[in-house]
Symmetry: C2
Subunit: 282 residues, 2 copies
């Protein structure tokens, strides 16, 4: 049985907000995550909603700022927030640039040295973490939804499109929707994946949806005052790709809202209920 170290556990909305650390096989070192167990977990395993955070964030960010626990407690849903990358890797260039390296794992398995030994967030989130959670906590990982923000929204879209058997629902806030065509992706992908751009397509939501649609409506909220909207996020491209592929998409644009967690908190209830419906909790 894999060992988990409890960093803290605190009562919250009748359940428990916990922070944990464990030795990750996929990421070759310690990884941290946050897990909220609602009061219903005392009666048996609860469905699970992942929230993948964005650049510069950690497992604490959405846990503290999104305001999801109240809804999770009402609905009987567990919440898991992984860290956004391995930490303390010691790799040259792994720190000091908020767009690449630690805090910027892009939810993919790097193939290039030295990143390929530690930066394997796709395997971590899709395979290792659910197995670990199922082993240690009252969660039903066969009923999982996936949500994320910005780089984590990219993670949610790409992982759900690549592994639809793992997730019953997917949603995102201001995701990076066409990373192979925007500066964030064009900076990170060559270093993680190499210069052959054909390997990048497997981590681009626009490319993936052309290959396989997700069996369910993808819910995306986007603020129109988001400073990254036109340069880094490109909902227009994903909207076109979904239309061409026949993917059901609910893309909502919100006047005045920016890229922050104030935006996320304002609309998180719709996302949690979107996932609750798919997870049989409505």
């Amino acid at each position: 049985m894999s060992a988990i170290e409890t960093i803290s556990e605190q009562r919250c909305f009748g359940g428990v907000q916990g922070f944990y650390r464990h030795a990750s096989t996929a990421c070759g070192g310690p990884m941290r995550f946050a897990l909220y167990l609602p009061p219903q977990a005392a009666q048996g395993p609860c469905p699970l909603l992942y929230f993948l955070a964005g650049l510069t964030c950690t497992e604490e960010t959405a846990t503290l700022k999104a305001g999801m626990q109240r809804l999770a407690a009402e609905l009987g849903m567990a919440l898991v927030m992984p860290d956004t990358s391995p930490r303390d890797t010691g790799f040259d260039g792994a720190t000091g640039d908020w767009e690449f390296g630690e805090g910027a794992g892009f939810y993919l398995d790097a193939t290039q040295a030295p990143w390929s030994t530690r930066f394997r967030m796709e395997s971590y989130v899709v395979d290792e973490l659910p197995a670990l959670l199922a082993e240690h906590f009252p969660v039903d990982v066969t009923r999982s939804g996936l949500c994320g923000h910005s780089m984590g929204g990219h993670g949610a879209l790409t992982l759900a499109l690549k592994h639809p058997q793992c997730y019953r629902s997917v949603s995102a806030f201001a995701p990076i929707m066409a990373p192979t065509q925007v500066p964030w992706g064009r900076k990170a992908f060559p270093r993680y994946l190499g210069d052959d751009a054909s390997t990048w397509a497997g981590h681009d939501a626009c490319e993936l949806v052309r290959q396989h649609t997700f069996p369910g409506t993808i819910l995306i909220d986007q603020g129109e005052a988001d400073p990254f909207l036109h340069t880094q996020l490109r909902p227009d491209l994903f909207e076109q790709a979904c239309a061409a592929a026949g993917q059901s998409l609910q893309l909502r644009r919100h006047a005045g809202y920016d890229h922050s967690y104030w935006f996320i908190a304002s609309f998180i209830e719709d996302h949690v209920r979107h996932h609750a419906d798919a997870l049989g909790l409505a």
Copy 2:
């Protein structure tokens, strides 16, 4: 007209979450505060709920962690979170001790040098800040409620009991209820107020309630797993004082909850609705 500098303003639940800075007369230097204006503020002045934070906290703490904006937007209530003390005072001993000085203003007007020139949080919260808010924002400061946590709960109770004409309602989470009898107060009060313990009584909720009751029920939530419960907070003493004075008190004890904002977030809705009732917003 006093000048206010806008640090940031962001759309949140249809309203605006702002952070501001201004030159404070009461505190002899710059002070920061957070203000949430709900969408209803576009139609006219909204009633106001103050939240006073505790030791080590700033104007950001409750703003980020308490989850009040959703409710404020629903009810049409403005929220103001002042910083917990002046900053960058340069006074010997003002930093480096989380229980005293910067971040630990105790919501009183210090009488002892050098603190008396800057640490005047009672005058700031009761007089200067409402006047400033009324001048610059669509808030109706004649309809105000007062809430706080820990040291800020002490602030809420003592300021409401001393200035009942200023507040229509008061509530607190895990407040310091008998500061003259516990280590936090017995450390801070002599330095701010001098060694004459008779001057401390004017800043002790148990002493104040014996002199004048508050015209309304005081709502207090207290976690039973709070590590400060028996040493620093002493709800038992306040409960006795209220009973002796005929003060209406609703003191709720919650098994398993600690001193954190996870506890506050879990019960904040009851507090916001308690204030909304008194402010005519229910």
